[in-house]
Amino acid sequence: MSNLFASGYICPLDKNNVDTDQIIPKQFLSSIERFGFEDALFYDWRYLADGSPNPDFVLNQPKYQGANILLSRRNFGCGSSREHAPWALQQYGFGVIIAESFADIFASNCLNNGILLIRLPADTLNCLFVQAEQRSAIWIIDLEQQRLFSDDGQSMSFDIDADARERLLNRLDFICCSEQLSDRISHFEQHRSAQQPWLQGC
């Protein structure tokens, strides 16, 4: 089972350019903690002005309760660099996001939190949207094989950057790897001080 990255239902969020201000609005950014953001996810869409759940929003619909794969469109995660966005998605339960494309900083942030981003072409996404609207299938994500399987017999492959795949599969500690190069960093710093003495600190 080790090659199964995740499995579960898909929740469709049919929008382009879902920005990080929508994923988690500013009022939740004043926390100094890394946890406790699940209720803040998509806050302005998820709750009405009086604080009650917005029944029209997809996350609140009964059939998508417990979904752990989020499906969206183009340029997902654009805007602010706030890592609170992947924290909120993950703490709500989304470990995988499928979209046509992702904004750069958001993609790095997801990788650093172990969230798998899957990029699929628009026509494949269209099919997934149709199916997700029915919430018919459970999808299994095999990262090693780079394939998505459904329990009703469908399957499709996806591309992923080799480095991202490696880090997700091995859950590598991001800082440890660079720390092991400490001597190289020190060497670089000496060279830098000699070549560009004006770059000293304050």
């Binding site: 929008k15 382009n16 350019n17 920005d19 201000d21 929508q22 609005p25 500013k26 009022q27 950014l29 004043s30 926390s31 100094i32 903690e33 890394r34 302005d44 002005a49 469109r73 183009r74 340029n75 654009c78 805007g79 602010s80 660099s81 706030r82 890592e83 992947p86 494309s101 904004a103 750069d104 900083i105 790095s108 942030n109 650093n112 939190n113 950057d161 080799a162 480095d163 490696e166 991001f174 800082i175 790897c177 660079s178 720390e179 190069l181 400490s182 190289r184 960093i185 670089f188 710093e189 830098r192 560009q196 003495p197 004006w198 770059l199 000293q200 600190g201 304050c202």
Partner: protein, 468 residues
């Protein structure tokens, strides 16, 4: 084959190759602020790691400070906790900080350049997407997340993969009353908010050379709204003249040495770009956004597009939704549309030149009745200069509020917020739903367009008589 400016800076900072596609890059300058750093410091503490180079790190208090009162608790209890955490973390790790009591305090992307902490050829990161601003100096500058902030604090490096390169050449002369902001909005309108995804953009051409450092910062600042990893402009005499005498800029013999080095920072004639685009500056008009993403933008004399004028279904739906949110109809002109609030500030447009352009619109007139207009200078230095030049007095006499420096209504984390349904002409960079306050309706414009809207009480074409 020649190298692009981006490739030159990238190669210079390569500490090691981590694997086939990823390099470890050295970071010359790390800016931090109160909102995206607390969890990074907590992570360091938990793993018992030290800050490798506190001397290359620099902290600012900006995102959630009150711009009315200079106390840590003035924007509420949670803000106070965050600001105090930053002060404590900086003291513990010996990181220099411009706190709220410092006369030079301000928005991180305004103070970095004006203190000479931002220099050509550097790699610069900050837990903030508008770090792209510093690219105006020919530095490779980009926003990072909190895990990466922790990584840079611990190692002064960051794993990176080479980005694709996009060259945007702008030749010709921008018309009167058309600013770098209008140019940025025009480019975003043409390429879309994902048009630059995966690319580092280098802006070049005679119109870029003609921009002041303030204008170049506005343009590079907005390159993130294009989805670009970073914006870059090769340093030139304008850059060097700006930097000379800045407090942290090199002095004496080091200045000469630095200058010789900086003069090699340009894209070679035969550098290869993955994509090249050219534009004519003389065709750029004053712009404003009509929707809820910066790509939903148009010239001031155009009308709100009909959703079905877009070829893609997803864009049609986005337009429909945005027009509903913004309270606008297809075909409606925005000239004459009344505004409730005018916000002049943010890391995009709160520098001295921006405030001069805004004040020039006043011409002894008053802010229209019923309009609330705020001017929030980007830093203590900008504020003092604006006061010395008499700009502050002009704003105050006209009925604008004149504030202390901070991010303020750009994201409304402090006490400056739009109410639901309020329409705002803002010089900031994001018109996302709820960005300035839940239900608030933001139209992004240049400082001159914003000030003119404050005076008229509605959007006007500043290239027409009366304003020009």
């Amino acid at each position: 084959m020649g190298l692009s400016l981006y490739q030159k800076i990238y190669q210079r900072h390569r500490v090691a190759a981590l694997n086939a596609g990823t390099d470890l890059l050295y970071i010359d300058r790390h800016f931090i602020h109160e909102v995206t750093s607390p969890q990074a410091f907590a992570g360091l503490t938990q793993a018992q790691r030290a800050v490798r180079r506190p001397d290359l790190t620099f902290a600012a208090m900006d995102h959630n400070v009150s711009t009315q009162k200079r106390t840590l608790d003035a924007a509420g209890e949670t803000s106070r906790i965050q600001l105090e955490a930053l002060a404590k973390n900086c003291a513990e790790h010996r990181i220099p900080i411009l706190d709220l009591t410092h006369p030079d305090q301000g928005i991180v992307h305004v103070i970095g350049p004006e203190l000479g902490l931002t220099l050509p050829g550097m790699t610069i990161v900050c837990g903030d997407s508008h770090t792209s601003t510093h690219g105006a100096f020919g530095a490779l500058a980009f926003g990072i997340g909190t895990s990466e902030v922790e990584h840079v604090l611990a190692t002064q490096t960051l794993p990176q993969q080479p980005a694709k390169s996009l060259q945007i050449r702008v030749d010709g002369t921008l018309p009167a009353q058309v600013s770098a902001k209008d140019l940025a909005l025009t480019i975003i309108g043409q390429l879309g908010t994902a048009g630059g995804t995966g690319y580092v953009v280098e802006f070049c051409g005679s119109a870029i050379r003609a921009l002041s450092m303030e204008g170049r910062m506005t343009l590079c600042n907005m390159s993130i709204e294009l989805g670009a990893k970073a914006g870059l402009i090769a340093p030139d005499e304008v850059t060097f003249a700006y930097l000379q005498d800045k407090p942290h800029a090199p002095k004496g013999a080091e200045w000469q040495q630095a200058l010789a080095d900086w003069q090699s920072l340009f894209s070679d004639e035969d550098a290869v770009f993955d994509l090249q685009i050219s534009m004519d500056a003389s065709q750029v008009r004053p712009h404003l956004t009509w929707g809820t993403t910066p790509e939903q933008v148009m010239p001031i004399d155009a009308s709100v597009p009909a959703p079905d004028s877009f070829s893609e279904r997803s864009k049609q739906e986005a337009a429909l939704r945005a027009q509903h949110y913004m309270g606008l109809q297809p075909g409606q002109p925005l000239l004459g549309l009344p505004v409730d609030v005018v916000f002049i500030g943010s890391c995009t447009n709160s520098r001295i030149e921006d405030l001069r352009a805004a004040a020039a619109m006043i011409k002894a007139r008053k802010v229209a009745a019923g309009v609330r207009a705020l001017v929030v200078p980007g830093s203590g230095r900008v504020k003092r200069q604006a006061e010395a030049e008499g700009l502050a007095a002009q704003f105050l006499a006209a009925g604008f509020e004149w504030r202390e420096p901070g991010c303020s209504m750009c994201l409304g984390m402090n006490d400056d917020r739009l109410e639901a349904g309020q329409r705002c002409a803002a010089t900031s960079n994001r018109n996302f739903e709820g960005r300035q306050g839940r239900g608030g309706r933001t139209h992004l414009v240049s400082p001159a367009m914003a000030a003119a809207a404050a005076i008229a009480g509605h959007f006007v074409d500043i290239s027409q008589e009366n304003w020009a």
